[in-house]
Symmetry: C2
Subunit: 202 residues, 2 copies
């Protein structure tokens, strides 16, 4: 009997940190079943709702990659702005910085918001993408914390006294939008290991 080939799967990212975070969720049994690669592809970022953006990006990626793919999309959503800047947060952060984002809410009483991470999985150009949404509710506050990663310093998760930038990475991973989306896709990969293994060992 031949040894079974692992299931190939490609995380679309050129960001080492994102790959590391993803590998951290691939616990032993998953690491035994899946062969995770990463690939940096310049994919179009679409406008629209976060689920739509992630799904379309995953589908687009399958046209360039011969394995199932996973893409991620992160949003920072302000409730006063009905979820915006949301998927456009990177543009806003690049252009007006953290303080600018905080100042955008000055005219509103509601300073609540949520961080959202979506993993979208797509098996091939012929199949529909599946999305896994992790959400973390909190408040938008003046920048605090040494960790200068993106908008972490202005996001204070509910039930905590520290911003994402101030807290231990371990605590953050447990409560974060990315951690939660990771748990969901982990379940999915576990449930689909047998089916995919058969498909890739035909």
């Amino acid at each position: 009997m031949e040894a079974k080939k692992k299931i190939p799967i490609t995380l679309i990212t050129g960001n080492k940190k994102k790959l590391e975070e993803f590998m951290a969720i691939m616990s032993e049994d998953l690491a035994a079943a899946y062969d995770v690669r990463s690939m940096a592809i310049d994919l179009d970022e679409l406008q629209g709702e976060p689920e739509f953006i992630a799904s379309r990006k995953a589908k687009l990626a399958t046209h360039q990659v011969p394995t199932p793919v996973i893409v991620d999309d992160v949003s920072l959503c302000f409730n006063a702005l009905k979820g915006l800047p949301g998927p456009y947060i990177k543009s806003f952060l690049d252009k007006i910085g953290r303080q600018g984002l905080v100042d955008m809410l000055k005219g509103f009483d509601d300073k609540t918001g949520y961080a959202q991470c979506i993993y979208a999985y797509c098996e091939s150009p012929e199949t529909e993408p599946v999305v896994f949404i992790g959400k973390c509710d909190g408040q938008i506050v003046s920048p605090r914390g040494e960790n200068m990663f993106g908008w972490d310093p202005i996001f204070l998760p509910n039930g905590h006294e520290q911003t994402f930038a101030e807290m231990d990475m371990e605590v953050k991973n447990k409560i974060s939008h990315r951690g939660m989306a990771g748990e969901l896709i982990k379940d999915f990969l576990r449930q689909n290991a047998e089916r995919l293994s058969e498909k890739f060992n035909q």
Copy 2:
């Protein structure tokens, strides 16, 4: 000698008003040279700088339409937000309305901004798109005016006492971002009429 065929050109829009506005800039000599059609295609809206979004959209359209195409993209840009919401203005308007947009600037002293219209022309999938940018500087003000078209009620163009929503359509067309982009593409179409006519009469 055979009569010359007109040059076919397709404006990508499902919006009658936009087609009318475009036809209004096609003055007699242009109307004699060009056969303007319109087509509603559901094209992906990309994220990015306005010029990039319009160019890519025009190029995408040439894959679905056998004639040269023209697409347009409109932005409302706040200087305090370094040009944002810009191309995302429609999402913002849909979600938080005009007053929400005004309130986003409450935390900033600078209430200036500009309206921008880009026409992008692309001849075929093999050619590079050309963009024509019309810009109108002004202020973001509390909503004023009966004309309930988009964000017109909150945009007060420099040197005028009336918002886009309050002014006569004729005055608006003369000073507006769309009017200016229209003048530019008109010059371009005039300059290219002979070349295109030869191409389409081969």
